[in-house]
Amino acid sequence: MIDDFYAYSPYELDAAAKSRLLTGELKRLTAFHREHSPEYAGFLRTVGYDEDKVEKASDIPFFPVRMFKEFDLISIDRSEVFKTLTSSGTTGQSVSKIFLDKQTALSQQKVMARILGDFWGKKRIPLLVIDTPAVLRDRKMFTARGAAVLGLSVIARDTVYVLNDDMSLNTDRLREFLEKYGSQPFTVFGFTFMVWQHFYKELLKTDERFDLSQAFLMTGGGWKKLVDSAVSHSEFKRCITETTGITHFLDHYGMAEQTGCIYAECECGHLHASIYSDVFIRDPEDFSLCPNGTKGIIQVVSALPGSYPGHSLLTEDEGIILGEDDCPCGRKGKYIEILGRMKSAEIRGCSDTYADKFR
């Protein structure tokens, strides 16, 4: 059970120890979802799943992430659903619907707290959100954007939203926040595109200087839009540092279908898999496993999805495993680089739908 994982810190286990823990849990989840989700059971029959042949996590069949858009995939009684998460999609493109029961939602929060705690310490620190409070207004249907903000609020203390409802920057609120907390560590969170468009660009327009040098800037999602406007990862960081003084960056990779298990960026700029999840790279031609250092389609596995069959997914993203257990930052596990969406894939980053309005 997931509780077995809590005995370890998120990056403590080497490849062999992690594989033992994770493979067992993934087998258990596969059996559970087969029993409770007819669609998933059908999928396992089609691929000829044989539990006895599973020796490692990569032997668990991978389910195309797109299936969550086509079907309501759920392994619990509908009456136990207490939150439905969607990959936001306000523009008419299809959205994933993820059904959570209490237990799954709880583990998502715990795991995210543990992962982030590894980076900025156990103490809760103030949080400045580059978004509007409107992301949480509809309390029944959260988008991934709202869920991310809310998940972080639990780990933080005193959450302040720095954008107005019309997405303009509220400099008064920013000034107040910095007067109160600016001299101690704090977190700034926003989707990459929104940080760029509604924070960085707006700061450039004002004469007032804001010192955010004590901040960790946590970003996620929406790189594609910045790549389109020719802003590279390093250019983004350079501009932000110049304007705000921020030098601690914590980007992350994650998806609504495996909320909680984020791949967070370490001091060396690598995205790390924690003990709760793992990543495999597959050849786009025949779906065979690629060796480290070779690019291909990203498969993610996670120990958290208890209420829906999302524990082993083939994403539509392209990436590379840079190494395992040997990152100079000291964290064990695989570390990866995300190259972006596969060429043929529909654009579907959760902040990308929002960014479409700016075309």
């Binding site: 207490f82 209490k102 309390r139 809310l150």
Partner: protein, 78 residues
């Protein structure tokens, strides 16, 4: 105010529930105590007792009764 009064007050004020409902109150069972309400409740409890709760305790705070147990860790007794 006694600790119990402070504790009850934090729930009533932050979630807008009736004092009579408190004993049976559970996270996500009452529409007011959802994940957004939860953050307001945590802030109210922290203010009332001048404490800073650990992340795990915030996540584990799942009912009115459980909350009393958790606050015990911060030397708040009832």
């Amino acid at each position: 105010m006694t600790n119990l009064e402070l504790y009850n007050n934090a729930f009533v004020e932050s979630l807008g529930v009736d004092e009579a409902e408190l004993e049976e109150l559970e996270y996500q069972k009452n529409p007011a105590w959802d994940s957004v309400g939860h953050m307001g409740l945590v802030a109210a409890l922290e203010d009332a007792f001048d404490i800073m709760m650990d992340t795990d305790d915030i996540i584990d705070l799942s009912s009115y009764k459980k909350g009393k147990e958790i606050l015990g860790k911060y030397d708040v007794t009832f």
